[in-house]
């Protein structure tokens, strides 16, 4: 065998091993994605949102930062075009609007509460709760990529949210689409994802009126 023949054989072996290795890597499942999300110790991500509202002639665009500390602390701070914030602490949802902090009591409106909770459940990988609230359709879309479609089981929630579509890779959420009951749609794209251990008392989750 010539030297070239040896190199080709070696390359072929390496290639076949690589292919074999790839072939053995399992496609993501709902369980594996949820399990992976459940292991997160928190993250910070930038997001860009585009909201299509029937009342408005053009979509609304906004940018901001999302903070998450498992199991149920979430802060969504919009920096552009105008600053606002929403902090979720368990069932408690507070919003900073202008100079006022308003508390939305999730239990006052079961549908809004369920919607807010469902987003937190998704981020914390709470599979049981998600499946209790939604009909889940999971699809592996190639490699570690996946997509998820959540359809509310409760008609009251269904009137508020027609469906939630999420897409990601491995344990990262990349896009979230919420189709509301009246057809309005918001699409959030997450970038600059950074795993960070956050605690509930982190300043990111504190809400103070300016």
């Amino acid at each position: 065998m010539t030297r070239w023949a040896c190199i080709l054989v070696a390359l072929a072996c390496a290639l076949s091993l690589s292919v074999a290795s790839r072939a053995q890597s399992p496609a993501p499942t709902f369980a594996s994605v949820m399990s992976g999300l459940a292991q997160t110790t928190g993250f910070v991500a930038q997001f860009r949102e585009e909201k299509t509202i029937e009342l408005l002639a053009a979509p609304l665009r906004s940018e901001g930062t999302l903070y998450f500390a498992p199991p149920n602390h979430l802060a969504r701070r919009i920096t552009r075009p105008a600053s606002s914030a929403m902090v979720v602490d368990g069932d408690r949802v507070r919003m900073l609007e202008g100079h006022a902090i308003r508390e939305l009591d999730g239990s006052q409106d079961a549908a809004i509460g369920a919607f807010v909770r469902s987003f937190v459940q998704l981020l914390s990988g709470n599979r049981a709760e998600l499946e209790r609230t939604f009909v889940v359709a999971f699809t592996a879309t190639g490699g570690s990529a996946w997509s998820l479609r959540l359809t509310p089981r409760d008609p009251r929630l269904g009137r508020l949210v027609r469906e939630i579509r999420a897409a990601g890779a491995a344990q990262r959420l990349q896009e979230l689409v919420v189709v509301e009951g009246n057809g309005d749609t918001s699409t959030s794209t997450f970038t600059s994802f950074e795993a960070r251990s956050l605690r509930a008392n982190d300043p990111a989750f504190q809400l103070r009126a300016p």
Partner: protein, 782 residues
């Protein structure tokens, strides 16, 4: 009157008294110590507040190991409480249907709630543009679904503003979990319980409180004893106070009766005399209860206690008669003895009644009750002494055993006569105490000082209020009107003024019915101002489009504004909606008007706020504590004036009777000095003076004058021993009844007993000494 006739009258009066005693209601309503509502608006408001839902409400905090356990406990506890017929309402959170009910209330009425104070700028382009931008921001929120569903009819987010205003009315310390109120630490469920009856209706409240405790015990048993219960509210204090007064009255009455019986038996050694001394007492009590029932229908506990104490006082009349009769000498008939003492008894009862009736001219219902109760008792006892006792008296025989006591007293008096310096020293000491102590008397007009103290309950009450974050409901603004709409119109003006006061930092925040309902005029003006605004529809559409809204999306709103399909929201509609219970907390029904109360938080500049509110016709700023202090201060001043007036009346009566200055001084000066010395002693020992002390002084003056009259009427040497004995017997029996009130746990009764005991003891000493001082060698002066 024959014995049979006397016995029949006695039985008839007793039967009447017993019937009234069974029917009469005993209250401990604090309002009885307020000036009557007829006097001024503030008193009416105060009394209505006391009778209103806020006073009937209690807050229960159920402690639990977790939020979930608290939610379960709250639901179970509320369910049990709602079954109780005496409970009007239990609020432990939001019902799911409440939100829909509230939405229905404001639906299609958005134009009526656009602006409560529209002006030229309200509908300017700038303001409209700002409103559209705010709506856009709201739509962009993750929770903007509600705004999106309502926006076409409600572009100014009227409903959202109403919901926010309602949320702001919830106590600051509460959150709702699964529709249940929890404290922020989520370790306590909070229930607001409103009873049907006033907390001062102890007959209903005491069993209700027991049933509430039992209901909690059952819930706690289901949770393995892990729950705790704390409460805040008037009911517990009122029931405890009523119970304490009842117990005190029972205990002291028994002690008093036993003491009086023993003393009388020791004095007269005759069961017949003992029974006879009780006849005027029983008749006096029966008359007092009957007349009080006929006039008032109910008596305050304090009135009852005072009435019981009258037992000892009115016993003086038969004791005085019996003393003189037994000392009168062999063969004296009861009629002759009565004739001898009658003028003294009549004068004594007359001056006492004049003093008591003076109290009746105050505007405090409790004082009027006491005046009527006591003066009726005195008159009844006097008449019984006059007509019912003599038929049962034997013809006088030899000197009775009490002669020894009387002679001893005479010797003591003689010893004083021989030592004028000692007598002078006694007067000097008394006057010194007056001179030094009187200026030191500090009056405390705080009503709460007269209530029973329960420091542990007060601490628990404060703890619950802190947990819940309930506002201090002692400062408020009241909007008055002849009907709901008129009052609401004033309330609208009050809300506007308070908004300005908040900006001026005179007050931190306020809770008002304005968050729920505006007057019809304000609602109509809200819609009309938009309709009137120059080119409103065109500008509205153009600006909406400019901000980014599609064309015609707000046509439903503009159509409703142009041609309303609904009437303005009315009180009746709110009353029957889920917001009805909230609105009721702010609404008072007064005899001639309707009032809406705005509760203030963090009043920083009371005077400025008062001035601001004073400029609104029909609005009243009310600081409950200040009001009570002022009212009681005024009452105290009035009582002092009445005391002075009463003293003048007594002086005139004495002048008419005796026509000599020395005799008048002998009658009046001991009582006046004793009253002043009593106050001086209180000042010296640092006891704060209160209304009950003043009331006691009325008694001291009334009875002290009696002593003076007895001494003046019977100052002949032959009558002196029996008169001295009468005075001492009167003092001992009175102290056995009134003085024993000093043992009461109720501060009001305690003050009364203490001052009466001191005052009458001084009267007992000073009345004979006055006689000595004025007579010198003992010759007759009167």
């Amino acid at each position: 009157m024959t014995r049979l006739g006397a016995a029949l009258v006695f039985l008839a009066v007793c039967a009447l008294g017993a019937t009234a005693a069974v029917r009469i209601e005993v209250s401990n309503d604090v309002a009885a110590f307020m000036p009557d509502g007829h006097d001024n608006e503030r008193a009416q408001i105060f009394q209505a507040l006391l009778a209103g839902e806020n006073t009937r409400g209690s807050v229960y905090a159920v402690g639990a190991p977790s939020a979930a356990a608290a939610v379960v406990a709250s639901r179970a506890f509320a369910e049990r409480l709602r079954r109780d017929p005496e409970i009007l309402r239990v609020e432990n959170g939001f019902a799911a249907s409440d939100g829909e009910g509230v939405a229905r209330l404001y639906r299609s009425r958005e134009a009526y709630f656009l602006s409560d104070a529209p002006n030229a700028d309200t509908w300017s382009d700038t303001r409209l543009r700002t409103a559209f931008r705010r709506l856009t921001e709201q739509l962009a929120l993750p929770t903007g679904g509600l705004a999106r569903s309502l926006a076409t009819r409600d572009p100014f987010m009227v409903f959202q503003h109403r919901v926010d205003a309602l949320a702001a009315m919830r106590p600051e310390g509460l959150v709702a979990r699964d529709g249940v109120y929890l404290t922020r630490d989520e370790r306590h469920a909070v229930l607001f319980v409103t009873s049907r009856e006033s907390p001062f209706a102890a007959a209903k409240q005491a069993p209700l409180l027991r049933r509430i405790e039992q209901a909690f015990a059952a819930v706690n048993a289901n949770q393995h004893g892990r729950l705790t219960l704390a409460q805040s509210g008037f009911a517990r204090f009122a029931v405890a106070s009523e119970l304490a007064i009842r117990n005190d009255v029972t205990r002291i009455s028994i002690l008093s009766a036993v003491g009086v019986i023993l003393f009388t038996l020791l004095l007269f050694r005759s069961v017949r005399f003992l029974l006879l001394t009780f006849v005027p007492v029983v008749v006096g009590m029966a008359a007092a209860v009957s007349v009080s029932y006929a006039v008032f229908g109910a008596v305050h506990g304090i009135t009852l206690a005072f009435g019981c104490a009258l037992i000892g006082v009115t016993e003086d009349y038969p004791v005085h008669l019996l003393n003189h009769h037994t000392f009168a000498g062999k063969g004296t008939t009861p009629a002759q003895s009565l004739k001898r003492v009658w003028i003294g008894l009549l004068l004594g009862a007359g001056t006492t009644t004049v003093g008591l009736l003076g109290l009746g001219s105050t505007t405090f219902s409790a004082m009027r009750e006491i005046a009527v109760f006591a003066s009726t008792g005195v008159i009844g006892a006097l008449l019984a002494t006059r007509y019912l006792v003599p038929p049962f008296l034997p013809v006088a025989e030899a000197a009775p055993p009490q002669a020894r006591v009387a002679l001893t007293l005479e010797r003591v008096l003689a010893a004083f006569r021989r030592r004028p310096r000692v007598v002078g020293a006694v007067w000097l000491v008394a006057l010194l105490v007056v001179a030094v102590g009187l200026p030191r008397v500090r009056w405390n007009d705080d009503l709460s000082r007269l209530n029973a103290e329960h420091p542990e309950w007060r601490a628990e009450d404060a703890r619950v209020r802190a947990l819940v974050g309930a506002p201090d409901a002692t400062r408020m603004v009241v909007a008055l009107g002849r009907d709901d709409n008129t009052a609401l119109r004033v309330n609208d003006a009050v809300a506007e003024a308070l908004q300005e006061a908040t900006v001026a930092q005179e007050v931190t925040s306020f809770q008002s019915a304005h968050s729920i309902l505006w007057s019809r005029e304000t609602q109509e003006e809200s819609a009309e101002s938009a309709r009137r605004a120059d080119g409103f529809g065109e500008r509205f559409r153009a600006l909406a489009s400019e901000v980014g809204f599609r064309d015609s999306v707000f046509d439903p709103f503009l159509r409703e504004l142009g041609s309303p399909t609904t009437q303005p929201l009315s009180y009746e509609e709110v009353r029957t909606s889920p917001l009805g219970t909230v609105l009721q907390r702010f609404r008072l029904s007064l005899p001639q008007s309707i009032a809406y109360v705005t509760f203030l938080r963090g009043v920083q500049h009371s005077d400025a706020l008062n001035a601001r509110i004073a400029s609104i016709s029909g609005a009243v700023y009310l600081d409950q504590k200040e009001f009570l202090r002022d009212a009681y201060g005024a009452f105290r001043t009035r009582t002092l004036q009445l005391l002075a007036l009463g003293a003048l009346g007594v002086l005139l009566i004495a002048l008419v009777r005796y026509r000599r200055i020395r005799a008048v001084v002998a009658v009046c000066f001991p009582a006046w000095t004793a009253a002043a010395t009593t106050l001086g002693i209180l000042g010296l020992v640092g006891v704060e003076g209160n209304l009950m002390h003043l009331l006691a002084l009325v008694l001291v003056l009334s009875m002290g004058i009696d002593y003076g009259i007895f001494m003046a009427e019977h100052s002949e040497e032959s009558e002196l021993p029996s008169t001295l004995l009468s005075v001492v017997a009167a003092t001992v029996t009175t102290i056995l009844s009134f003085g024993l009130l000093a043992l009461s746990t109720n501060p009001a009764l305690r003050s009364l007993g203490m001052a009466t005991g001191i005052g009458l003891a001084l009267c007992m000493v000073l009345a004979p000494l006055a006689l000595i001082s004025l007579r010198g060698d003992g010759s007759r002066t009167a």
